[in-house]
Symmetry: C2
Subunit: 336 residues, 2 copies
């Protein structure tokens, strides 16, 4: 817990800008970081190890009915439970070391367990992040999943949110907007469109954070965050911690192709403020452009350069015709 | 998760020896440990770090109605949530590095949060195990607490369950039996006796694992486990992993003084099989007796030498008059 503990966007609720109760929670758990401990409040905390390396670690709770639907496919859920945590390691540029799983189940269902474990282990194997321990118990009501990931990183090169520099390029990995559209279709905020749901739902149910590409970024990039709370919200955290501003160009943003037929306002809202995007926003000096693009090409990782860090505080998004884009909501940041 | 994931004794249920469903769960999550990873299935997993050190880590879920009562004092609950995890670090002889907290609450209650945080932080501060990160979310029903601890240990000296040697002394820290009696009074298995409850309940609500003493044991002791599932059950895990047997003398056991007025059978059951005892059972060579006793005296940590590791498989407990003690139940090991 930290100055600003990071929250996952609950599926079951839309943001409520008036409900700022998590500031209250943070007040009770925020403590000054002990000497040598870094990154408290970042995607991962960094704990000092012998030899100048740091342990990067993060934990997430996933609650049935809030973070996933009761009918979620267990294989996808096993994948996602680990993926959202690997995203936190990726956002620090850390190399996965292992993970722990806490699982509270209302009943023991062999089919469910087999599929959940299969999704979890498949991602753990490919990411080199073995499951090394855990705790299982019977729950009183729905499923509760707690995952903790651990990784290693050289603290001098860790992608901390306070490391952005003026004139840095701003990059994002992957494509934006699709998970939010899937959520809106499922929640009824958008009228149901089965083909649009089919095209967007995989990004919600099976996020693929760029853990492989991200491990190579330390030394090239400065700051990074995953954009699970929405691009503007999370980039805002970088700007606040790094004491600078940003200019973004909407025309440069990697809008998910499934969103083409939607109206401009809906697309802008989803791309700029939509959560559950387990991709990275990172900043890097302009003279690293070529090296970063090469790294992305080598890893088969799509990336887009979407703007620039500026000295003046504030976050401006320009449309293709030079207008400022403003939004009803900038993303999810509430205990709602 | 492991060959035998370790379970906390639920408050709301008594052991059910016929209900072995957690073997089913273990089957889906057990994987061969990657090279260099040790202790999978022990109190902590040990992950290889640079420089020959290992990261010791463990996670526990505490569910309202199962692991604590809905009316539990939040300050004590904050203490206990961390204490049960520090007990796992102690059982490996690891030095605490930091912890993570996942908290799912049905509502934000400032008084509750303040007291919970106060109990948690007080123990974290005294044990040198700072809270470095976490996740908070609103739950659908009761409170869910997930704590992960991390520590460091030299893997060659870690107190692994498979490290007991024939002719080792068997030691326990602290006093035994009181938490089980408190539970039985609260559950109605024993008729209510308010003064007995007052004398035993603190051991249930505010366990004090010997984390300070335990950090000094590597190099002196061989195997260790915490006895949260009961002495015979947890010592049994050491014997199984170390391929040996044990002889115990009941007369040498540190029976909690509050249990004096109870009948012999109740006391034996509570001392030998009662769970929720966040104390250590450890083994060490006989030539280390004096050094270990000196260490305990220096730390103000009561310890008792209760028996001996033998070559022949099996676990025998002798009463003062030379009879074998047998019990209805040997402890808690089920998903019930």
């Amino acid at each position: 817990m930290s100055a600003r503990p990071r929250f996952r966007r609950p599926l079951a609720a839309r943001p409520n800008p008036l409900d700022n109760e998590f500031d209250l929670i943070a007040r009770y758990f925020s403590r000054p970081a002990p000497s040598g401990y870094l990154g408290v409040g970042d995607d991962c905390a960094l704990l000092p190890l012998a030899g100048g390396r740091h342990l990067a670690t993060s934990t997430d709770l996933l609650i049935e009915g809030r973070h996933f639907f009761a009918d979620a496919q267990p294989e996808a859920l096993g994948h996602k439970a680990l993926a959202v945590n690997l995203s936190d390691l990726a956002a620090m540029g850390a190399q996965p070391l292992g993970c722990l799983l806490g699982l509270s189940l209302p009943a023991v269902d062999a089919d469910w367990l087999e599929q959940f474990a299969s999704g979890f282990h498949a991602l753990a194997d490919s990411a080199g992040c073995p499951l090394v321990g855990g705790d299982t118990t019977r729950s009183i009501s729905g499923i509760v999943i707690s995952v903790t990931v651990m990784g290693q990183v050289d603290a001098r090169q860790a992608l901390r949110r306070d490391a952005a520099m003026v004139d840095d390029d701003i990059w994002v990995t992957g494509a934006l907007g699709a998970p939010d559209i899937a959520l809106q279709l499922l929640n009824g905020t958008l009228p149901m469109d089965q083909s649009l749901l089919a095209a967007t739902r995989p990004t919600l149910d099976r996020p693929e954070p760029p853990w492989q590409f991200a491990q190579k970024l330390p030394g090239l990039a400065h700051a990074a965050l995953d954009i699970s709370d929405g691009l503007l919200q999370d980039l805002g955290h970088i700007l606040e911690a790094s004491k600078c501003g940003a200019e973004l160009h909407f025309a440069s943003m990697p809008v998910h192709p499934a969103l083409q037929a939607l109206d401009t306002g809906t697309v802008q809202q989803a791309v700029l403020a939509g959560g559950d995007v387990y991709q990275l926003c990172f900043t890097a000096a302009a003279d690293k452009r070529q090296a970063i693009q090469q790294l992305a090409d080598d890893a088969g990782q799509p990336i887009s350069r979407i703007g620039r860090i500026v000295k003046q505080a504030g976050l401006h998004v320009w449309s293709a015709d030079g207008q400022t884009i403003s939004l009803a909501s900038r993303g999810y940041d509430h205990f709602s």
